[in-house]
Symmetry: C2
Subunit: 218 residues, 2 copies
Amino acid sequence: MMTADGPQRISDSTVHRLSKYYRTLTYLSERGIKTISSEALAQHNGVTAAQVRKDFSCFGTFGRRGLGYNVLELQRNIARIMGLQRKWSVALVGVGNVGRALLDYDQFRIQGFQITMAFDSDPAKIGREFHKVFVRDVFNLENDARAGQVEIGVVAVPVVAAQAVVDKLVLGGVKGILNFAPINLKAPPGVFIRYENMAIEIEALAFAITNPELVRND
Amino acid sequence: MMTADGPQRISDSTVHRLSKYYRTLTYLSERGIKTISSEALAQHNGVTAAQVRKDFSCFGTFGRRGLGYNVLELQRNIARIMGLQRKWSVALVGVGNVGRALLDYDQFRIQGFQITMAFDSDPAKIGREFHKVFVRDVFNLENDARAGQVEIGVVAVPVVAAQAVVDKLVLGGVKGILNFAPINLKAPPGVFIRYENMAIEIEALAFAITNPELVRND
């Protein structure tokens, strides 16, 4: 939606929900289901139908009142908005336990994120293959990322090495960084950083179990 | 904060931020730093000082104007609120790539989440040890979880098996479930489910790179 101030900005929560709707629509289309109501889509995702309609209204309305949404059309529209209709070239830096899990993580591949290169600093890993991806020397990260036209870098190295890796990825031309190291990182404008910490959600569980009366259900 | 309607409910975003503040405070206290201003704590976490003060006001004010927060005291308070001042007994179900990464994931251990049991359905894995955790037969999940007083179950099994695993964990007495399978799951009231999907954040990156003008910076 355009406003006098330019395009309406989209919150993280909306973007996350679009990812989830997209999964539901993929699931439905694989089962030959042609249409879905905002109510059903909402129920699949633990939100309200009003939320679903509001999320889609940011991008123009795709549904028709009384008829619901065309599953394939909506799936295509979300893919286009999210940049999921194309493949993304991804470099993984750090081939430890988390890195190796990501090399074999179906959800990356299915959504079009192809880890084309892996890097490590450990001589015992450099030159080996893990899940069919060759491990390169992180010393060459900038040049190799540039040569390989890497768009997204995944940082799965220890905290002390993370910022240096980000700096090299930026010099190598990446536009986005997914960081697994538990530390805040800096990148210049135009390079996006997102953080993944698998302990955050288990801590939210600990909070909920400790304070059931404080947990919002909406 | 108590209101006429009972305790004020806390949003997911606030809980996630508390986790992040807690990490900053741990980092500072390990380096012998005694006090921190809301401004500095905000800067460490990419939020505003007003947001920091608002987040803490939900739990009563811990800081003193002009003096900042006492690092150790604030760390202890957040730990108490989040349930991080204690150990949690965790069962992992599914010893695939993601499961094995979690068995060796420092951030779980550091925050007090101890994976005391692991389960799988694969005869080639049952009876083996991964990262010093013995793999049990998922057939015995309910009884073993109960006997081991497991509080949190981590579900890292394929989509088709996930709901059955949750049902067994619930019967086994767990109070919280962290789910890595890309599917929405059901649990009875009083059992909390949180979802972890490592592709969601990389999709948010794809969205940001595709639509830089739509990304909120707040």
